[in-house]
Each structure stands twice: as C-alpha cells, then as structure tokens.
Amino acid sequence: MTLLHNYYESASIILFGIGLCTLMLNQNLIKKIIGMNIMDTSIFLFLVSKGYIAGRSAPIITENYQGVNAYVNPIPSALILTGIVVAVSVTAFLLALTIKLYESYGTVDLEEILKMKGDDHGVNNKLPFS
C-alpha cells in the first residue's frame, strides 16, 4: 500500500529502471544516450518531489515574509538545476563522440563497432576478461 501512496517515488524508481536498462542493454548509441537522459530525469523527479510540500508557495519573498512554514524547500530545486547542467554537458559530449564514431565507422551500433578492428597494435581481444 505504501508503494501506491508514494506516487512520485514509485514512478521515479520505475523510470530509473527503464533508463538504466536502456542504457545497459541497448546497443544503439543514440538509444543509450536517451536511456541516460531518462535515468537522470527520474532522479530529478525523485528529488523535486522531496522538496515539494503541498499547499505552500515558492520561496520568493516579494512583499512580506510569511514565516518558514509558508514556503517549500528550495534546496532540491537548486540541486536539480546543477544536475540538469551536468546532464546536458554529458549528453553533449556523448553525442559529439557518437558523431565522431559514426564518421569513422559508418554505424552507431556499439556491438558492430566493437567487432570491427581499428588500427591494431598488438591488442589481444580473444582472451578472457579483455
């Protein structure tokens, strides 16, 4: 029952699972990046739901201060903003690398790319744990 009452937390954990599975199991690089974004977004949902308190307003004081109990917790929002910046930069970096790989290999499928041998320098790929 408690699981059903915590809508935000349940939803964010389910989304986290979806994102993590997409990131780990899909071989398409673009899908991997999408999975990473879903995963990060689920964490943002989790954190922002922790900061929200029903019936309170945003902590912006314009005219008069109404006491601590009138406002929601602003710290999770600040954390999420930082998290979004980080996620954006990681996504941009990943996409740039993907484009570079696509230019040199002609595919975005990671399995095929790993099978293709690049410029070989005595690398032994067939042995265990390599």
Binding site: M39, L79, V90, L101
Partner: protein, 491 residues
C-alpha cells in the same frame, strides 16, 4: 594561522582559474608554463596545508563562513592533506614529463585543450578529496569524469574515440547511481553534509535500515564503476592503453584513487564503521576486491601490449584497495589509503617508462623488448624498480601494503584471505618478471634488431627518477605515514 585554513579552497580555485586563463594564449610554450606554474603554486599551498595538519590536527573550513547546514564545508584531515600533497606531486611530474612527449603523440591544435583538461582534472580531484558535502562531491566527480574522458580523446584515433565512449557510458551509469544515492540519503536525513548525515544516521538508523542499505549499495556500485571494481572494470584497459602516455599515467595513478577515496569517505565517515559492518556490503567489496586481484593479474599475463598489461595491473592493484576497504577494520582502511599513495607514485612511473619505451623502439608489444636493458639502461632500470614494487620486494611500498594486509587478515581471523594476497603477488611476478628477464638477459636476440635510437635523453627520465625516489621514500617512511593517517580512522 587563520590564513592557512583557506589554502585548500585556494588550491582548487587557482587551478580552475588557470584552466580558464589558457584560451587567451596562443603559443603552446606559454600554455605549458601556465599549466605547470599554477600546479606548482597549488603544490606549495598543499605543502603548507600538510605541515599545518601535522602540527595542529584536522580542521574544517566553511566556504564563505556560512552555517554548516546551508553552506559547503571542506574537511581537511591527515588523509586529505597527504593525498592532495601526493596527487599534486604526481601531477607536476607527469605534466613535466608530458612537455617532451606530448607533441609527438597528439595533434598540434589539441595541445592547448590537453593542458586545459589536465588543470581542470587536478582541480576537480582536489575537490573530491577535500569536500565534506556529498552533492558538491558529485559535481566534482562529474567534472573529473568529463575531463578524464577528454584527456583520453585528445589523441584522435579510432581506438581512442571508441575507448572514450565506452568509458563515458560506463561512468554515466556510475554517476546516475551516485546521484540516486544522494537523493535517497537527502530524502531520509535532510542533510547533504557528511558529518550531519552521520549524526542523523547514528540516531535513527533502525527506522530506515533498508533504505540505508540501498543507499550504500548505490554508492558502492556507482563509485565502483568509476574506480574499476572487478566486474565493472571493462572500460579501463581500452581507455588507459589507448590514451597518450601522460594521460594514462594520470588516469591510472590518480583518478581511480580519488573515486575510491570518496567511497571510503561515504562508507566510514558518513555511515560509520559500526553500522557499515552490519551490512553485507563490506563482504561483497572484499570478495570483489579478491576477484579483481586475481583476475586482473590473470588477464595481464596474456597481454602482449605493454600499456594494456600495465592497465590490467591497475585493476589488480585497485583490488588491493578494495580488499583493504572491505576488511571493515580501521587499520584496513588506513592500509587502503597507504596503498593508494604508493600505487599512485609507482604506476605513474611505470606508465611513463612504458611510454618512453614505445617512443624509442616504435613497438608496443613486449616480445620486441628483448635486450632493452642494454639499449636504454636508465629507463629500464627505473621500470625494473617500479615493477619490483608491484611484485612486492621488501622496503618498496607494494610489499609493505601486502605485508600489513596479511597481518590485518591474521588479526581479523580471516586466514584464507592471506592466500589470495600471496597468490596475487605471485601472479604479479609471473607477468612482470618475463619483461625484466628478457630485457636484461635477452641479448642474443639483439643482433638482427634495429632500434631507432640508442639512448633516451636524460632530460626525459628526470621526472621518472624523481617519482621512483619518492616511491622508495614512501616505502622507507611507511611507519610514519601509517602513524600519521591512522588516527583519522579512529586508531
């Protein structure tokens, strides 16, 4: 006195500023000077910090003198001061070494980018070490992950891009797990400061036992990916072997350790020794550490590429660190930190030697290195000393950490684990000794071989020689170092 407490923040600060100063300069020479001079200033500040901590004990520093609950706090104890000192020392020597080798390895227009990345990496590593606030730590971890991918991909070959992509994908999985762990711990404690979380956790850990377990598991998996814990290490050999020599030295010697140290902080300072020992997490870390020690060495035996061999050896050595963490005793954690210090110095020296060997012979496979001890005696002698430390020859730091780990196993009545340490040590010998023996005694193969040059300039080997000297010093002063850092863990 007051002034010195702000030095740790100043170190992070000037390194960030130095990285942003570089785009204004055009010549590579100026950029190199900026990079090393700011690293030197940071190093001098870290020396003062170390001396201050040695005399006055650990201290807290609140950035901007804001309340602990609101602001970001730094905690500088003996371990933090020592690690920052050693890491900056290695950074300076690797950057010095890179001056002579980086031009040959990467394109000319990428050199500026490389030094920007190195200084950003140094700043973020210091941030990870000093911070006492987990979210701040997360931000620094992300900066470190991006910049360490950056210094892999500056050399734009297919292999590098592939390795960097693999590394970045694995490390985004890791950072996602860490951020979820932070969200969990913020949800049930309401704090981000490690000390405050520790107080809350000590008071009501019984109400949220399971959430705490999930949090610890998330942090362990997330930081385990980034610091190459055994089954999650698959990105490491590619990334470390394909990167430019200076980058691989930095990645292997420093970046892995910073993440492992953050794990020590999370487990032992945030949760606490008594509570962590109730979970099964530590046993899992211990077992994975053992597996890493054995399988890392086993796979290194089959490698033919020297940089790949050293990269696999890194996995084995990180196994020792996780072994120390997983023992669950304060002394185990202290040895893990000691091993980080010793390995940081040794592994960077080994990577730099291998870089010189590849550069001078033009070959990357170890069967071409027969008789190399006669061709480039200084470099090969330094390589031998580094390898001796990895194998565990007495006095050198590799031996001392293995010795104390075995003693701690006896102390904790886990006798079976001694065999793991011993067999791993033997396996280390199996893959390092053939290189050394062939290098010194494989003269008969020398006749029909043409080496491009007879000698390495002494200038290039000075940084490596200093590192090896520092390694011997760390081995000789092991008692003092362990005495210095063990009060941190409550001994």
């Amino acid at each position: 006195m007051e002034l010195i407490t702000s030095f740790p923040l100043a170190e992070i600060f000037i390194l960030f500023i130095s990285a942003f100063l570089m785009p204004f300069f055009k010549k590579d020479k100026h950029i190199k000077i900026i990079s090393i001079s700011f690293l030197l200033i940071a190093f001098i500040l870290s020396v003062f910090t170390l001396m201050f901590v040695f005399q006055n004990g650990p201290f807290y520093y609140a950035a901007g003198h804001i309340d602990t609950i609101l602001g970001i706090q730094l905690y500088i104890g003996p371990v933090e001061a020592l690690l920052s000192f050693v890491f900056l020392f290695v950074f300076i020597l690797v950057v010095w070494f890179s001056f002579s080798t980086i031009d040959a390895e990467i394109q000319e227009n990428r050199i500026k980018l490389f030094y920007i990345m190195v200084n950003l990496l140094a700043a973020s590593i210091l941030g990870i070490i000093f911070t006492n606030d987990i979210f701040n730590g997360y931000v620094f971890i992300e900066v470190a992950a991006l910049t360490s991918c950056g210094i892999v991909v500056v050399k734009e070959t297919q292999e590098n891009i592939k390795a960097a992509l693999k590394y970045l994908i694995m490390s985004t999985i890791g950072s996602g797990l860490i951020l979820m762990g932070i969200a969990f711990i913020y949800a049930f404690t309401g704090h981000l400061n490690i000390e405050l979380i520790h107080q809350v956790v000590l008071e009501d850990h019984e109400t949220f036992q399971k959430s705490l377990l999930i949090t610890v598991a998330l942090f362990t998996a997330g930081l385990g990916v980034k610091s190459a814990m055994f089954p999650l290490h698959t990105w490491l050999p590619d990334a470390h072997s394909s990167a430019p020599t200076a980058s691989s030295a930095l990645l292997s010697a420093i970046v892995l350790k910073a993440f492992a140290f953050f794990l020590i902080k999370i487990l032992y300072r945030m949760i606490g020794f008594d509570l962590v020992n109730q979970f099964s997490i530590l046993t899992i870390i211990l077992i994975l550490g053992c597996c890493g020690m054995i399988f890392g060495s086993l796979s290194a035996i089959f490698q033919k590429n020297i940089k790949r061999l050293i990269a696999y050896s890194s996995i084995a050595q990180m196994g020792y660190v996780f072994f120390g963490i997983g023992l669950g005793s304060p002394f185990g954690a202290a040895i893990a930190v000691y091993h980080m210090v010793g390995h940081a110095v040794t592994k960077s020296a080994l990577f730099m030697c291998s870089g010189l060997m590849i550069e001078e012979t033009g070959h990357k496979t170890i069967d071409r290195y027969k008789g190399l001890g006669h061709e480039m005696p200084i470099t090969f002698a330094l390589f031998t000393l580094g390898a001796f430390s990895m194998i565990g020859i007495p006095i050198l730091p590799g031996f001392i950490s293995k010795w104390y780990l075995s003693l701690e196993c006896i102390h904790l009545d886990k006798l079976l684990l001694i065999f793991v340490v011993l067999s791993s040590s033997l396996l280390n010998a199996v893959y390092y000794f053939p290189i050394l023996i062939n290098g010194f005694f494989g003269i008969e193969n020398l006749q029909d071989k043409e080496y491009r040059s007879k000698k390495v300039p002494v200038k290039k080997t000075i940084p490596i020689a200093i590192l090896i000297l520092a390694m011997i010093l760390i081995g000789a002063l092991s008692k003092n170092i362990l005495d210095f850092i063990s009060p941190e863990f409550g001994l």
